[in-house]
Symmetry: D2
Subunit: 439 residues, 4 copies
């Protein structure tokens, strides 16, 4: 992702647009065919001085102005006539925006690929741990048993929705920007639409209904979807880092040399990947807000709003993409301590099974009496520091209704998982459908 | 929109969910049919004390807990047996989230309706002013002529894209939330899926692959799309308020008694509608950021993140909806001073036509010589405070190439509009397609 | 805080300004003294129809316009001559902003009082637990021992800095807004400054160097400081909610009927107060961003930016104040399980003391050899699942250097607390200084 | 500012801390004096491989870990014994945070210097244009006359308040961070405080009451004040860019080669400096929100929150500093067209003076009759397209009360400026006081 948005590539994408414009205009007959080669051959980023262009940008107002000036001079040095046709009829924002669209095409391809990889890793995790019990935690407190497979399925379900969102937004963003100085293509006279169409063809972009210089929803939508993705990545790693706590110890990021350890504190296994992802999940939302806030751009070219996009969108792409890469690492190499997951379910001395026993007794006693019986038993368990099972096993009313085998079974988390497995299966089925839909 | 999200309606939507749950569970055989009527008949918001529930919410942690407690007591007073089956197997977040989805269904219907109304008003404006010339302004400076119809078409094009986005997100948000305390429906034993399916049917919502208690992308996506819409509304009113400036005077918000006038400053016509919309466009982006930032919710129930959603999403809905209503008012009743638009094109003493003349001369002289000739003429025009037309009309080189009729024509903005009309037609065609797609 | 910012109080504060203006202008001789009583007597919020004013606000552009119109009519009904002097020479923003300043004066007094209360509760906690050992956790992993007193002292130190910030900002915000329609007080002719000075005196506000209608740093600064405070409250409750986890169990929010418990999950003790605070800490930062973003207000009266402030600043005040109240509750009634704190230090089977032993052995062996010896011992402890103490107690090289008494002491967290106590004392000393400074 | 926060300088500031720590510890007797030179001599950024360190950072979790490892190896290669004392007793966050404080000391000095420069330029502008009339504009509509000097004074007043804020925050941020792995300085045994004190002395920083590893208000406060400053800069350039509009033409950014011009649109004078500043004013608020949102950092070292600060705070510093530099350029070289300012006051055909005449007539007629007379005259002026002066000059009732000289004077904006000049003088007096206070 860093390569897609580095200064050099950014320059190249703008030069790609300029070269394609020359070809398109020659094809339509707007400029002489003879000019194309002279222009195209200079449209190579490596021959430009990136730093000098950056310095000139501040005074000129945007990067395309000094770039086109420099390029024109280079073309002129070889073919004075051709130089007159560099960037013919286009405005600097045409080149900057279309160049950005070309970058976003690469960026979205990478994000799509990585969300697919993450989804597959999560699907494996969900499938493998379909029957691995772990405490469901609400308010960061143990609530009832669930499965680690269902946890992973929840993560997967969100990632698969993001993959559909990416598919839906692409037709709106992978479009040409081409309107000339006023958005009318006036400099091209009657040839505007034909040229626009030819240019879109050259770049394999769709031709939008009209230029969108100050209608920024196309680009900002990309940011919002990347924001949603990053939010989900934050959720995944929030869970994992909570499970990595010394006192919980249920999952661990993969070990690697120099990764997350501490020689003076040998017991530590720091969630370094999760930290990167959580930092991204903290930074991306306000950056999305920047882009939304910059949408009310003035008239036919924004003053400040457009400029606010330039670094912000690449940052969002980089943060989301980096977070994706780290989450893939963490998930693909996740150490899962299933024994500890099960052992942690003992922390509450059986109280976590109170609801399960209540439900079972309710069939015999009715709901309210069952509830009262268990509530009283729980109180005794807490006061006496004993396991709820022991209290109930010693309760004559319970013994009259439930055999010890039955009672014991109720304290097995595997017997109180409800529809967990079916939910996992539904998510995995949806995952297979998504895989087909997005390809 | 305020009605959809008021305390009373919010309560009713949760009660709708609870009533539907009783019906669904009776249908599936999870609770006795006899309990349904007793529960259903109490699920009416008007019998509850909203303020008392609000006070109890702080201690309980969410609104559903005291609501269900209160409802259960009311049911019990009439039918003690039925009371045991209130909210059977559900968790408070099931009810709160599904209630929210029901509210969002109404909210999105309203937003869809209003975006359609705005689109139609903009389509009329674009069609009507297809040949109305106005200065295109870049950097808030006059650049070249364009048409007011193209300006309106640009606004329309964005609104129509939003309508497609709304259509796409609905299947993801109009879904049931139902997972019970741990997201496993454990309390329903083997009847979880059947109950969930029946409940979804009762509420005419889709059944999602799994509960999404801490996968918040569904709700946050709504916020992002409303954020994009509000951004476009800000863009529209930014333009209009700039055109309403005393020194510009091209468009005006509709007059109405008590609206935007000032008795001590009778020349003023304040853009009061635009101000409301621009305020919304300032407030919504950070609120969207709040929701994105709240996505990494812990384990099976968030701590703080979920709570941060409760007031934020309704605020976004209200701000977007209010901004839509104001924009519809402004656009539907917009006063357009086409004479002033044309007159303002004279402000630059003909310099705004420099590019048009250059392009025309380039056919005779080649691009560079034409450019140099006009550049020099512009310099003289500025120095001498004369109109560029007069300078050129007195230039022998120009006279040799262009007749006075030709030269005069070049200073008519209607002759330098390029593809503006075609762009408007394309946007209007797209608008008709969108109208079909979204219905 | 809700009372300070409710519609009724807001109206009253504006009416207070209008009444004070009449008194001030009569004193200076700008309006007849006879008009004062007629105006003053109608400046009571309870006689106005809040809903009707709210409806009129949308069309008028701000609340002050219909309020003044309504007030003028009421004054006129009793004293037609006096009605001509209502709000003489002022503009609606003068009244709205100065009314806001009066609200903020009350709001800041409340915040100052509550930060002081919280500071005192934290000081008690820091003092009381100066020698209570608890695991210091970095990356949410146990690192080394620290004291709970030092944890509390860290929270206290931040709160006390906020109290100084509040003291510093007050002179900048507790000032009059009074400039008339253009910020020149032109309607008052030569009496502008005298009137302004008298009005400031009436309201016990400072007279600023000039009107600040579109210089919003004064109000936005309030938001930033409340944002900083809310951030610290989020930090405090983040820590407490982490310590409340089932597997940690070191601190608990105070018990209260109906608070954070669950009848079907009797082991739970939900951090309901912390959730409210963490939600505020999620919501306030973007709201601060709204206000910062709204600062570039146009010319002499903003268009949208000012309007964006109206609801945002009260929300920030309410969220910060609510978070403060909840944090005070949590801290003042905090259950601290010092036994569990100490027991949790055993979780790592002695590895948490590795650094302490290394430091001790380094005096005998040099740092590197000591480090290697302990690293190897830790490896064996982990592999064999034994306590590090046991490994070392059985190591002949260690036995040669350290007596068993010495070795045992190194595994007592109380012996590896460094300067913790001194830091607590320094914070408490600073607290006493702050108490003096802010009063 | 870019230099202060570049990778190389960042490294150097951390190395400065490490070198100072060695000196301090030798002074206190914690490490042998012999080790100091070996350590100090390697604490030079230019000998490190920045890219390699950046790569290692991802796995290690922060930059200080690989830096210290690398540094230790370099020291060891020359003096094995000294290597054991590199970074003795400190934790990586000590070095990163204190290094950041050293960077912020430089950054704040630069910001202080530039705000002073801007203030001086604004003071000159305010003084020079104390009697230059210009339209005051509310809602972006001409309201009444004011002076350009008062406009500049408003900007100045805000900048001078920021200078006081900068002065106030410095004692809170220019402090040492030094707590060791757990914030207790345990590794230094009884020497913690003495070492801390010596280290603070070496670095000329204050010694805080306690370490502040997860109490981030000190650093976030810097961001909030820079956010306030950037907001004011946005306000200044918002005004200037509005005044630069083609139809307004009152002020212009300074001309420079290649700056803001367009060869094909010679009439343009683009506000390129203002665009940069407005972009900063759009980008900084959400970045401030990022830092506020990252404040609730877990326990003794944050997970994600701290990491979110690393790039965000330098970006804020760079954006604010860049915006300051551009605003200084714009203000110091501002072209002011005082003729156009006065001419624009004619745009409303005299209606802008309606209030002035009303006030004058009120002395003769009473307020209400005067108001009605003028309101009717204004209506006629608008209907007949005539200047209000002409209407009034032909009104017998007016003629009876006012001589033509008197009436003419009322249409001179210089005669309706109220306290504008006094406000300017007060701001300039406050400016002189501020200059003294901040030095």
């Amino acid at each position: 992702m860093q390569e897609i948005f580095c200064d050099r590539t950014r320059l190249q994408r703008m030069l790609d647009v300029i070269a394609a414009l020359a070809r398109a205009e020659a094809r339509v007959g707007v400029i002489p065919s003879a000019a194309v080669a002279a222009i195209e051959s200079r449209c190579r980023a490596e021959i430009f001085d990136v730093d000098a262009l950056a310095r000139a940008t501040a005074a000129a107002g945007n990067i395309a102005i000094p770039l086109i000036k420099d390029l024109t001079a280079r073309v002129a040095s070889g073919d004075a006539a051709a130089a007159g046709f560099v960037h013919w009829g286009a405005t600097s924002q045409d080149t900057i925006d279309t160049g950005l669209v070309l970058q976003l095409r690469d960026a979205l391809a990478l994000i799509e690929n990585d969300t697919a990889r993450l989804a597959h890793a999560l699907a494996d995790l969900a499938e493998f741990h379909k029957r691995t019990v772990v405490a469901a935690r609400t308010w960061m407190q143990q609530a009832l048993p669930t499965t680690f497979g269902l946890k992973a399925a929840g993560w997967l379900s969100a990632i698969d929705r993001h993959r559909l969102r990416l598919r839906e937004l692409k037709p709106r963003i992978l479009v040409l920007q081409f309107g000339g100085a006023a958005g009318t293509l006036a400099a091209l006279g009657a040839d505007g639409m034909a040229t626009a169409s030819a240019l879109a063809g050259e770049l394999e972009l769709a031709l939008p209904d009209s230029p969108w210089h100050t209608q920024r929803d196309r680009v900002v939508e990309v940011a919002t979807v990347l924001g949603l993705i990053t939010g989900t990545l934050g959720k995944i790693t929030r869970d994992i880092s909570l499970m990595m706590q010394t006192e919980v110890g249920e999952t661990f990021e993969p070990r690697a040399p120099g990764r997350g350890g501490s020689s003076s504190m040998p017991h530590k296994r720091n969630p370094v990947g999760s930290a990167v992802v959580l930092a991204a999940a903290t930074r991306v939302p306000p950056l999305v807000s920047t882009l939304l806030a910059s949408m009310p751009q003035e008239h036919e070219r924004g003053l400040g709003g457009w400029h606010a996009e330039w670094e912000t969108l690449p940052q969002i792409c980089a943060l989301c993409s980096g977070a994706l890469a780290h989450t893939i690492d963490v998930i693909a190499g996740l150490d899962v301590d299933t024994d500890r997951m099960r052992a942690n379910l003992e922390t509450t001395d059986g109280l976590i099974f109170a609801e399960a026993v209540t439900m079972a007794l309710a069939k015999h006693l009715g709901r309210m009496p069952a509830h009262e019986l268990i509530e009283s038993a729980c109180r005794r368990a807490l006061e006496q520091g004993r396991n709820l099972y022991d209290i109930l096993a010693g309760d004559s009313k319970v013994n009259a209704l439930l055999s010890d085998t039955e009672l014991t079974a109720m304290f097995d988390p595997l017997n109180y998982l409800g529809s967990a497995e079916q939910f996992v299966d539904r998510v995995l089925a949806q995952h297979r459908t998504t895989n087909q839909d997005v390809t």
